[in-house]
């Protein structure tokens, strides 16, 4: 083999070191650089490192994302994704390979957060977390309202104003949460979980935040928050941002209001309306009772009238019965009397025919003494005695001369 004098001879290590130095001193490759390519050969280690190959039509390069950087990537890396990554080339001498160590990755065509949002939305949707079957009814009448929001800013103030106005009877327990930044998801989730503790007796829970950018509101679409809302046994109303904002917290909540104040409006009943309703109900009850009393009175009157009527009828019936009986009795008496009279007449006639007076009619006379004693024999009288001679039409007083 021919060796040129000008061709230096290097060991593998020397060559590798040379390459490393060359790379480090290269104005482009020596610093973090941005590379565009498509993800393939994606794998994850137990420690959370991610290994992948970025490729295009003509070339491919091995890449690694250490766990510390991987945690900061909001979306899930998937094979076939087109990415712009920021990283630095690294030579690994023992294996003679070069690797792009990625510190940051952005999807192409769609923002990282947007992609993360879409990915989580699809995942939660597949799990059924947004299903209406899991939605709890927001109670119409509550005693105690829980609020998860930031203590700073006007959102809490605005909500309290609405609540105070609509129903000061409902008591409120606020659990402050960080609603922006890296700690927000954990903070919000913890507050929701806390207010679910039974000793706080929360009837309905509001999770609220004022308006902001998609990035500002993104914490409400993160897994800890979505899962905490899903797990809440207390019904949750969200009021996050303004009308067009719709995050995953809204999707999983039992009711999603368009703004924090709208959430406050939805959470409590109107005290004045309820007072009016109670008043009306009392009037209605009174009315119904009076009606019932009137009905009872009417029914009583009716019965009393009927009773009286029946009584009168009985009396008149009895009376007429008596009268009829009396008439019949009189009639019968008359008949009886007539009969008696007739019989009496008959007897009289018969008696008459036997009466001495009847004999007198034929010219006989009856002689009696003073005492009415009949003189039956001529021997029974003495001279000078006064006798009475009865003829059929009168009496003659006579003196015995012979």
């Amino acid at each position: 083999m021919q060796h040129s004098l000008f061709s230096p001879q290097l060991s593998v290590s020397e060559l590798t070191t040379r390459i490393q130095l060359t790379l480090e001193n290269d104005p482009l490759l020596g610093k973090p650089l941005m590379v565009q390519g498509e993800v393939s050969n994606l794998s994850r280690s137990a420690r959370g490192h991610i290994y992948l190959t970025l490729k295009d039509e003509g070339a491919s390069i091995k890449c690694a994302i250490w766990a510390s950087a991987a945690k900061k990537i909001a979306f899930q890396l998937e094979a076939g994704q087109a990415l712009i990554v920021t990283g630095k080339l690294d030579i690994y001498a023992p294996s003679g390979s070069y690797t792009l160590i990625i510190s940051h990755a952005e999807p192409i065509g769609i923002g990282a957060l947007q992609l993360a949002f879409e990915q989580m939305k699809a995942q939660f949707d597949a799990e059924g977390l947004f299903s209406t079957a899991y939605k709890k009814e927001i109670p119409a009448y509550i005693n105690r309202l829980g609020i998860v929001t930031s203590l700073t800013g006007s959102v809490l103030h605005d909500m309290l104003r609405v609540l105070r106005h609509k129903n000061p009877s409902v008591s409120i327990l606020i659990c402050p949460a960080t609603v922006q930044g890296d700690n927000a998801p954990q903070s919000i989730a913890a507050a929701i979980t806390k207010l679910n503790q039974p000793q706080y007796q929360i009837d309905t829970l509001i999770v609220a935040r004022g308006g902001g950018s998609f990035e500002d509101l993104f914490c409400f679409s993160t897994e800890p928050v979505v899962r905490a809302i899903f797990a809440s046994t207390v019904p949750v109303i969200t009021g996050i941002g303004h009308e067009p904002d719709y995050g995953l917290a809204d999707a999983v909540a039992d009711y999603s209001a368009q703004t924090p104040t709208a959430a406050a409006e939805r959470a409590v009943f109107d005290r004045e309306s309820l007072l009016l309703y109670l008043e009306d109900t009392q009037a209605l009850l009174q009315n119904r009772l009076e009606h019932q009393l009137q009905q009872a009175e009417l029914a009583f009157d009716h019965v009393a009238t009927q009773l009286l009527h029946a009584l009168q009828q009985k009396v008149s019936e009895t009376q007429s019965g008596l009268e009829t009986r009396q008439e019949r009795f009189v009639d019968q008496m008359n008949v009886l009397l007539d009969k008696q009279a007739y019989m009496l007449d008959e007897k009289m006639n018969i008696l008459d025919s036997y009466s001495p007076l009847a004999t007198l009619n034929r010219g006989y006379a009856l002689v009696t003494r003073d005492a009415g004693q009949a003189v039956l024999s001529a021997q029974a009288v003495s001279i000078g005695e006064t006798l009475t001679i009865q003829l059929y039409d009168g009496l003659i007083t006579a003196k015995v001369t012979s």
Binding site: R144, S169, L173, I174, T281, L285, R288, L289, Q292
Partner: protein, 76 residues
């Protein structure tokens, strides 16, 4: 610290039942009087609750030790 909860849901439901019973005309006079008293009692309780309960806003404060949370009155 916390106000004894009043169940309006329950109260309103029971009032509806009483009103329906009145409407049905099936109540005896004695029953009607009893139900009326009961209904008016519930209404008075509800009114009293609504009228006497003052606005109460509290805040859950995590103690420095981090062991327990405390409920404190909240002032804006």
């Amino acid at each position: 610290m916390t106000i004894a909860p009043f169940s309006f849901e329950d109260t309103l439901q029971r009032l509806d039942v009483i009103l329906a019973e009145f409407k049905s005309g099936q109540l005896s006079l004695d029953e009607a009087l009893g139900k009326f008293e009961q209904g008016v009692g519930m209404i008075r309780d509800g009114q009293a609750y609504l009228k006497t309960t003052k606005e109460k806003v509290e805040v859950l404060v995590t103690s420095l030790s981090g062991e327990s949370d405390q409920v404190q009155d909240f002032t804006e």
